[in-house]
Point group: C2
C-alpha cells in the first residue's frame, strides 16, 4: 500500500492534469492542494517523472478495472455504452478530461516512462474493446474488431477535446450517437 499522503497528492495531481495536462500542474499546486509545502511533495515523489508515472499507472489500472470483465454479463451494446459512459460521466459531472488523451496531445513534452504509460492506456483500451467485440457477428475478423476499437477510442478522445473547446457538450453526444457506426 502506498502512504495515505501520497494518494492525496496523486488525487490532486490527477484532478489538475485531467484539466490542464502534464504541464498544467506544478509541485506548488499539489502542495497547496493537500496542505503541505512543495519540498514535502518531493519526499513522496522525488521527481515529477516519478509522480507522472505513478499517476498514469494508477489512472490506467483504475480505469481498466472499472470497465469490468469484457466477457462478463450483458450485451455488446450495453458494454460499449458503459465504456462511453465512463468518459461522459467524469467529463459532464466533474469537468474532467481523459488523462491520457491530454497526455497524448503533449507526448513530446512527457518524460519517456510517462509517455510509455500513456501508450499503454490506448493499447489496453483497444484490447478491452476487442474482447468485448469478440462474439459479435457484425465483425468478421480481428482486423475488423481492431478497426472498430481504435475508431471508437479516437472518436471519444476527439469528441471530448472538441466539446470542451467548442463549449458545447452536445458535440460529444452527437459524435457518440452511433458508437460503432
Amino acid at each position: 500500500m502506498r502512504a495515505q499522503k501520497a494518494e492525496e497528492i496523486l488525487d490532486a495531481a490527477e484532478k489538475l492534469a485531467r484539466s490542464g495536462g502534464y504541464g498544467g500542474f506544478s509541485f506548488r499546486d499539489l502542495a497547496r492542494g493537500v496542505g503541505i509545502k512543495s519540498a514535502s511533495v518531493h519526499y513522496h515523489f522525488p521527481t515529477k517523472e516519478d509522480l507522472g508515472i505513478a499517476m498514469t499507472q494508477r489512472y490506467n489500472e483504475r480505469f481498466i478495472h472499472g470497465l469490468g470483465d469484457p466477457r462478463g454479463e450483458g450485451t455488446v451494446d450495453e458494454k460499449i455504452a458503459r465504456y462511453i459512459n465512463a468518459f461522459r460521466t467524469s467529463m459532464i459531472e466533474d469537468r474532467l478530461m481523459c488523462l491520457c488523451g491530454l497526455f497524448g496531445a503533449e507526448v513530446t513534452s512527457l518524460p519517456g516512462n510517462v509517455a510509455e504509460e500513456t501508450r499503454g492506456f490506448f493499447e489496453r483500451n483497444r484490447d478491452w474493446l476487442m474482447a468485448v467485440l469478440a462474439d459479435d457477428t457484425r465483425f468478421a475478423d480481428d482486423d475488423a474488431r481492431e478497426r472498430a476499437a481504435l475508431t471508437l477510442i479516437a472518436k471519444l478522445q476527439g469528441a471530448m477535446i472538441m466539446a470542451r473547446t467548442m463549449i458545447d457538450v452536445d458535440v460529444f453526444e452527437t459524435i457518440l450517437e452511433d458508437p460503432l457506426g
Copy 2:
C-alpha cells in the same frame, strides 16, 4: 501585408506549436529559429497572446483556403479524401500535428482570444464538411450532415494523437479506412 520577419517568426512558431503545443515553444526558441534575439521577437509580437492569435488565424485561413470550394468539382468521396489527406500529409511527411487539435487539448492554458480562434477552426471545418455533404443522398438532413462532419473531425484528431502516442502510423490509416462510416 505583414512584415517578412513576422512571417518567419510565425513559421517557426507554427512548426514548434504543431509538435509541442502552445506551451511547447518560447520566445527564445523562436528567436533562435529566425536568427534574432528574443527581445526582437517582442517587437513584432508584443505578447505571446498576440503571437498566438496571429499564428492560429493564419493557420486556420490557410487550412480552409487549401481545402478549396466545397461545392466545386469532384465527388463527395474525393473531397473527403482530400480533407483527410491534408492532415495525413503534414503528419507523415513533416511529423506535424494539427495546430488546433493540440491547442484544443490545452485550451484551459490558452489566452482567451487564442481559445476563440481554436474553436473557430473546428466550426469552420464542420461547416466546410457539411457543405461538401450537402448534395449527398446518404444523409437525410442537416442534423445527419452535422453528425457526419463532427464525427469525421473527431476521428481525425483522435487518430493523430493516438498514432503519435502509440508510435504507429497504421493506427491513423486503420481509423480513417471508412471515413464516413
